[in-house]
């Protein structure tokens, strides 16, 4: 057993130990147990992942041989290890946060069962990533998916929660069934091999039609988990009802498993040979991003907003994966490598800031008793620390430099512009449209999080509780601080992160992305084959090489080279940006101070049109802030005004009519409801067969079905 295997075993043992202790210990201890056992398990996971990513060791364990389908294997390669890193980044703070957070449930619920499942979830997640063959992957996936259902229903006495968790369970079950079909078909085509490496080798020569079919089945199966359109309707239902630490996990790492499935099976094991599959993924991703951010912008429930924003981010990740698949199909390995690396970069960014924001939302919920932005406001003065940490997360997710979201979104948009390399006009047009969609997404993300921050933290308090809120427990602040630090570091150090991710994504990216994006020309200023001396001289001249002797990286600038028809180099350095920003802010502050040194400052009350008293309800509300978006994209939101006059007197004279606005989720409206209606209709037709009491008719139907099966069997 090597060190990585030891730490991996430690993860499993600690998780199980946590579950056992939670079952035995009194309910008051649940938060503490999560904080201690869970955090140490997550730390062990991070260590194992780091060891594997450093390239020293890997995990190769054969568990036991199944009677029919070969060996159950654990294989952790660098791709899995990278996903484990994202897992740890999300789980560690979520566990730590539970310490103070679980107390709020003690009065009404017994959180011990929650604890057991929450502990086991980490082990199950780790096992999914460690699975080295299809059968153990499916087993682990099943366990993981099942375990994830229970923590959502901690507050099981509320109807809404039970409904949401049933929806979660049903949709994920459907996803599992679909992807199981796809994976088993793969195994069948590969002649019974189940190991991932063996599958990759033996699936090389299958027919294009089978490729397409398997791709579609596997992609849509996993896109349920990833929360991509049109299978995303469980996300905005399940996230708000789950406890905040569970929602953080759901967004920060469970969604990543969908991406893992797509990357593992659609990109690594069955790499695309035509552009079609990649374009499908790209379009689905771009649509998810746009729809996700639109709904996030108009939603006033903080957790629901974050859930919609998760759809957006997963959409961006999927779009990058799709781009990688298209570039692979067009034999552009460097661009493919860049796209995959950017996808992974965005994924780890999302894990960091979304966990942070969910923890913040949970803390706000705990301290004020509401998640409705219209009821919050003025929290900046009451909880400055939380506000600062939330701001870091919001800036990061809104992709503002120099934070991490900026780097990955910048690279996404730069990469999508490289479609000029294609010969196919169709692909170019699709790329251009998706690029426009993603650009709009990026712009709306800023609106969305300006609203989230401004309406919750600025202005007057809109409710009694919000005006008396206090800073959350220390555990919440520490866990958020860890994540904020991760956001900042991932933001200012892309030149460290990109080579690391590139190493992790070796099966897909060789070493191409790191060489293209962070070329070693700063470390080797002379004699670099990719860049002419003149170019390098110019670049060094404008300060790109500053600090190259002291900083152990390949330089501090990320470059994105244009193609042959557009030989431009786009360069970006968040590291320098921090310096420049600090300088600008400091000098501006200095100038303002100098210019206003003789001014006297008078502080008067806010101008409210001369009103006697400014009630908080009269101020700008979150609904009002997002209303322009609601109006512009009315056709997408498809609002329905419901009128309720049930309180009318005597049927004729109405005393009260309540009007309610119903923004039906577009996916439900266009996809899920028609689907369920069709299924119901079909079921009704089938029910007609069941004429009550006609036993011989039943027997006839059974015989007919048997015959059909026999015929099919004969033909195949």
């Amino acid at each position: 057993m090597n060190i990585a295997e030891f730490f991996f075993l430690l993860v499993l043992l600690l998780s199980v130990a946590g579950a056992v202790i939670s079952a035995l210990a009194p309910a008051q201890w649940t938060g503490r147990i999560l904080a201690i056992c869970g955090t140490s398990a997550a730390t062990a996971l991070l260590i194992a992942a780091a060891i594997i990513l450093a390239g020293h060791e890997s995990i190769r364990v054969d568990l036991w041989r199944l009677p029919v389908r070969g060996m159950l294997r654990l294989r952790v390669d660098s791709v899995s290890a990278f996903f484990m890193l994202a897992l740890g980044i999300s789980f560690l703070p979520a566990y730590w946060f539970s310490d103070g957070y679980m107390r709020r449930y003690l009065a009404h619920y017994d959180p011990r069962s929650f604890n057991i499942f929450f502990h086991l979830l980490l082990a199950a997640c780790a096992l999914v990533l460690a699975a080295g063959d299809v059968i153990s992957f499916l087993l682990a996936w099943r366990i993981m998916s099942g375990l994830a259902t229970f923590p959502i229903t901690l507050e099981h006495r509320q109807d809404e929660n039970r409904r949401a968790s049933y929806l979660f369970l049903a949709m994920n079950e459907a996803g599992i069934i679909i992807s199981t079909v796809g994976l088993l078909w793969m195994v069948a085509l590969a002649g019974g091999h189940t190991g991932f490496n063996a599958l990759h080798g033996s699936l090389r020569h299958i027919s294009p039609a089978a490729r397409w079919a398997i791709f579609l089945i596997v992609f849509f199966g996993f896109s349920v988990k990833a929360g991509l359109i049109p299978l995303s309707s469980w996300l905005p239902q399940a996230h708000p009802v789950a406890p905040a630490n569970m929602s953080a996990i759901m967004s920060g790492c469970l969604l990543n498993f969908g991406i893992y499935g797509i990357v593992r099976f659609d990109a690594i094991i069955l790499p695309p040979i035509s552009a079609g599959p990649g374009l499908v993924v790209l379009v689905v991703g771009a649509l998810s991003a746009l729809i996700g951010i639109l709904y996030a912008t108009i939603d006033n429930d903080m957790k629901k907003m974050l859930a919609h924003s998760s759809i957006e981010n997963l959409g961006i990740i999927a779009a990058n994966v799709g781009m990688g698949m298209v570039f692979t199909a067009y034999h552009l390995p460097v661009l493919a490598a860049i796209a995959y690396v950017v996808a992974m970069y965005h994924m780890i960014n999302h894990s960091a800031y979304k966990t942070l924001l969910f923890i913040a939302a949970g803390a706000i919920d705990q301290q004020t008793g509401t998640r409705d932005m219209n009821q919050l406001g003025g929290l900046l003065k009451r909880m400055p620390m939380l506000a600062a940490l939330f701001l870091v997360g919001a800036l990061a997710i809104a992709a503002l430099p120099p934070l991490n979201g900026f780097v990955s979104e910048w690279l996404t948009l730069q990469t999508i512009l490289r479609s000029e390399e294609f010969t196919s006009h169709f692909s170019r047009v699709v790329f251009a449209l998706c690029g426009a969609g993603l650009a709009l997404t990026a712009a709306l993300a800023v609106t969305c999080f300006v609203k989230a921050f401004a309406m919750s933290f600025l202005g007057p308090a809109h409710s009694e509780k919000a005006s008396r809120a206090l800073e959350p427990a220390k555990s919440a602040r520490i866990s958020m601080a860890i994540l904020a630090l991760a956001c900042i570091l991932l933001g200012i150090g892309p030149t460290w992160v990109i080579p690391t991710i590139n190493r992790a994504m070796k099966p897909l990216a060789a070493n191409l992305a790191a060489n293209a994006l962070v070329p070693p020309f700063f470390s080797h200023p002379h004699g670099n084959k990719d860049f002419s001396p003149g170019f390098m001289h110019d670049f060094a001249h404008i300060g790109a090489g500053i600090g190259r002797n002291i900083i152990p990286a390949r330089g501090l600038v990320v470059l994105h080279q244009g193609g042959k028809s557009n030989p431009v180099v786009y360069a970006m350095s968040t590291f320098y940006m921090v310096g420049v920003l600090a300088l600008i802010i400091f000098t501006t502050w200095l100038f303002v101070r100098w210019g206003t040194r003789r001014r006297t400052i008078t502080i008067s009350e806010p101008w409210a049109g001369g009103l006697r008293r400014l009630a908080p309800d009269m101020t700008y509300s979150a609904t009002g802030f997002s209303n322009p978006v609601r109006v512009i994209f009315r056709s997408i939101f498809g609002p329905a005004i419901r009128e309720d006059s049930s309180t009318a007197v005597a049927g004729h004279f109405r005393t009260a009519i309540s009007k309610q606005r119903d923004d039906g989720y577009i996916v439900d409206r266009l996809f899920l409801r028609p689907l369920t209606a069709t299924v119901n209709y079909a079921a009704k037709l089938l029910a007609k067969i069941h004429k009550p009491g006609m036993v011989n008719a039943y027997a006839a139907w059974v015989l007919a079905v048997l015959l059909v099966i026999l015929v099919i069997n004969r033909l195949l």
């Binding site: 008078t602 008067s604 009350e605 101008w607 049109g609 001369g610 009103l611 006697r612």
Partner: protein, 251 residues
């Protein structure tokens, strides 16, 4: 299609030439009576009696006039005991002690916040005319702004009803310094026929300090413009023989 354009271009400049030239167009100002000397004290008494708002007071054979009560009803402009009538509009005055004209950077341009503190809307109608092409206050650098935070001058009309008293005070407080106040119309200066009463304070200066007063009921647009020019030090205030008798009614 471009007829309107050609018509407009052909009609040349219509804007008043008031500063610096005197505008003597018909109807540009209702005019107002000035203090008049009569042959006998009897005649002066007759002159005083005919005024419905008690703007005229008689002592001996002199009929004096309180311009901040005159509503330009013209009852005293004709007949036996007719007052002397003056058809100008340079009526604005600085309002005594503490009043100041604008300082250096505010000579050329001002932003004005208007508060209607319970007026009958006559003054507001006249102020509205200022933005129209004929009076064109913008060419002189005066602009109306919706928020007191951007305003240099507070223009107040109306007798400060008790409902508007707090709003007026708050608006004044919301303005950043340096700031000036222009009381427009007789109601704002003295309350005229409305105040003091149970519902109105009567004078703006009882709530906030006033710098320039523009008497008139309502003052014609050019008189208001004159008030702004007096405030910026670009015009002389009204000659003293008319102003001596502007008096505030004690509360």
């Amino acid at each position: 299609m471009f007829g309107w354009f050609l018509r407009g271009a052909g009609s040349r400049v219509k804007t008043t030439r008031y500063p610096p030239e005197f505008d003597s167009n018909v109807g540009i100002s209702p005019g107002r009576p000035i203090a008049t000397q009569f042959a006998s004290s009897q005649e002066a008494d007759n002159a005083a009696v005919q005024c419905p708002t008690q703007a005229i007071t008689a002592h001996d054979n002199m009929a004096d006039i309180n311009v901040s009560r005159c509503v330009h009803c013209m009852a005293c402009s004709h007949g036996e005991a007719a007052m002397k009538w003056q058809n100008d509009y340079d009526w604005a005055t600085l309002s005594g002690a503490g009043a100041s004209t604008t300082t250096r950077p505010f000579k050329k341009s001002l932003h004005i916040r208007l508060v209607d503190s319970g007026s009958c809307d006559a003054v507001i109608q006249e102020i509205k005319q200022l933005a129209k092409p004929y009076y064109n206050m913008h060419k002189l650098g005066f602009f109306i702004t919706p928020t007191p935070r951007h305003a240099d001058v507070l223009m107040v009309a109306g007798p400060v009803t008790s409902h508007m008293r707090l709003a007026l005070k708050k608006t004044y407080d919301a303005m950043p310094g340096p700031k000036w106040v222009l009381a427009v119309g007789n109601c704002a200066i003295s309350g005229c026929v409305f105040a003091p009463s149970f519902m109105a304070a009567g004078t703006v200066s009882s709530v906030i300090p006033v710098d320039v007063q523009v008497p008139g009921c309502p003052p014609p647009p050019l008189a208001i413009l004159h008030g702004l020019l007096v405030l910026t030090g670009r015009a002389q205030e009204a000659p003293p023989h008319v102003t001596t008798t502007i008096a505030e009614v004690p509360l």
